[in-house]
């Protein structure tokens, strides 16, 4: 009965989540590499269309497409894929690699909370997490807010006993500030990785408008920011995503706030806070 109960409690999942197709959800493609020539063509086209200045960032990060309509909405963000040699890192990721190998040997795949090819470690400080990864060019937000969670996740593909390909390391921070939920990801993809690099995106049900802007940090770094809002039940969800790549690291910032819309002044204040918070966030990165 317990088994059925747990599955039954998911019965009320919203209709639109049940009918969204994978093609609507996914903007990731297997090959994300953009040859220089193709990128130059895209830059010219984007410039000719008078779109935002991402194209002018040479091969920086840019929104390659977006669409909005009743059948679904979404956008794709692309950048010049960079993959780092795992040997460039001088932290302690090898210990996680060994953990993955051991997990793979001993795992009961049917009933376990552990995942093959995956290991996560929590940290109580930024410095410890960054030192653990050991990539000199990795930068995190240096600001006064304390994250509720800091974790390093290592993804690897394992074949046989010890044949391991390191795919990706991700440093994640979570915050809740003024009723706004924030997630911060710094991702490094390794050479030979089986995972996608060079592209990400969003796809949603319904007609969601995306506004893209540039946001220049105090240090002069330009982030691509994408704003959107959507409704679930009685709440509106206001989302902001910011993206930047630098020295082989992909930086993704995500914030979401919900509001019932019953007080216009409160909603306006919340949205203003999101704006100022995003500026604080990008300003906190010093490359």
């Amino acid at each position: 009965m317990k088994e059925v109960n747990r599955l039954e409690y998911l019965s009320g999942i919203d209709d639109r989540f049940l009918t969204q197709s994978w093609s609507e959800c996914s903007s990731r493609k297997k090959k994300a590499y953009f040859p220089l020539k193709a990128a130059a063509v895209i830059l010219v086209v984007l410039l000719a269309m008078g779109t935002a200045v991402y194209a002018a960032q040479k091969l920086g990060i840019f929104m390659s497409e977006k669409h909005s309509g009743d059948s679904g909405s979404g956008y794709t963000v692309k950048w010049n894929k960079q993959q780092i040699d795992f040997n460039e890192l001088h932290g302690q990721l090898d210990s996680m690699k060994e953990t993955i190998i051991e997990q793979n040997k001993n795992m009961d795949f049917a009933y376990t909370d552990e995942m093959p090819g995956y290991c996560q470690k929590a940290f109580d400080s930024d410095k410890k997490a960054v030192d653990f990864i050991g990539y000199d060019k990795l930068v995190t937000a240096d600001w006064n807010y304390r994250p509720s969670e800091i974790s390093v996740s290592l993804y690897a593909s394992v074949r046989g006993e010890r044949d391991v390909t390191m795919d990706q390391v991700m440093l994640e921070h979570k915050y809740e500030i003024d009723h706004i939920r924030l997630q911060q990801w710094e991702e490094i993809f390794f050479k030979g990785s089986h995972l996608d690099a060079g592209q990400t995106g969003v796809s949603e049900d319904g007609n969601v408008e995306y506004q893209q802007t540039k946001l220049k940090s105090a240090d002069g770094d330009e982030w691509l920011v994408v704003d959107s809002s959507s409704r679930t039940g009685k709440y509106m969800f206001y989302k902001k995503n910011a993206y930047l790549t630098r020295d082989g690291v992909t930086y993704s910032l995500y914030m979401v706030a919900q509001d019932d819309g019953e007080d216009e002044a409160r909603t306006a204040k919340l949205q203003k806070r999101q704006e100022t918070l995003m500026k604080e966030w990008v300003d906190a990165y010093h490359f």
Binding site: M1, K2, E3, V4, N5, R6, L7, E8, Y9, L10, S11, G12, I13, D14, D15, R16, F17, L18, T19, Q20, W22, E24, C25, S26, R28, K30, G74, A110, Y111, D113, M115, P116, G117, Y118, E149, S153, Y155, S157, V158, R181, H194, L195, V202, S203, E204, S230, T232, G233, Y235, F237, K239, V256, Q258
Partner: protein
């Protein structure tokens, strides 16, 4: 035939509406049920769904006929599991439930609140992760089926689901007090 036309036929009590529903969705509904019960029971569930839809439209007039039918189908399949002896339940159902252990409680006082929170959580998640979660735990699809649909490897899907379960757990602990 699009859904609106089928709903209109059912609303007007035209029996061709049931035939149209069957032509359009029988295979998908049967596959959904078959994730939870045997093939024979899945066939029975699917037939029950056609009857239930015919009996309930009107007065109901769903916005999304597939979601409406699928929900009835899933509930019927889960009810069938309840009536089975434990050892006759599909191993896949037990596995699904185990994955949700410590995240969704066995017994819930405020079911509507839990549903609201789960939908809020899903709204905030990335669409790809949300798809994997819904198709794994609502539709009961196997990892292999999800690999076929998404083009992702099994390892990647499992790790996405693992992370999402953790995030859901944190979200519910903060608001629902499991």
């Amino acid at each position: 035939m699009d859904e609106k036309q089928i709903i209109a036929m059912l609303w007007n009590r035209e029996e061709d509406g049931v035939k149209a529903l069957q032509d359009q969705y029988a295979a998908k509904l049967k596959m959904l049920a078959a994730h939870f019960v045997s093939a024979q029971d899945a066939e029975e569930c699917m037939n029950d769904v056609l009857l239930a839809v015919w009996d309930s439209i009107p007065p109901n007039r769903p916005d999304n006929l597939f979601a409406y039918s699928a929900r009835i189908c899933r509930n019927k399949a889960l009810n069938k599991i309840r009536s089975m002896e434990r050892q006759k339940r599909k191993a896949e159902v037990v596995e699904l439930s185990k994955e949700l252990q410590n995240i969704i409680p066995d017994k819930v006082e405020q079911e509507s609140l839990l549903t609201e929170l789960i939908n809020e959580f899903l709204e905030q998640e990335r669409a790809q992760d949300r798809y994997l979660f819904v198709h794994r735990y609502w539709f009961g699809e196997s990892i292999e089926e999800l690999c076929g649909q998404t083009g992702y490897g099994a390892s990647r899907i499992k790790s996405s689901l693992f992370r999402m379960r953790k995030r859901l757990k944190n979200y519910l602990e903060g608001r629902y007090r499991i």
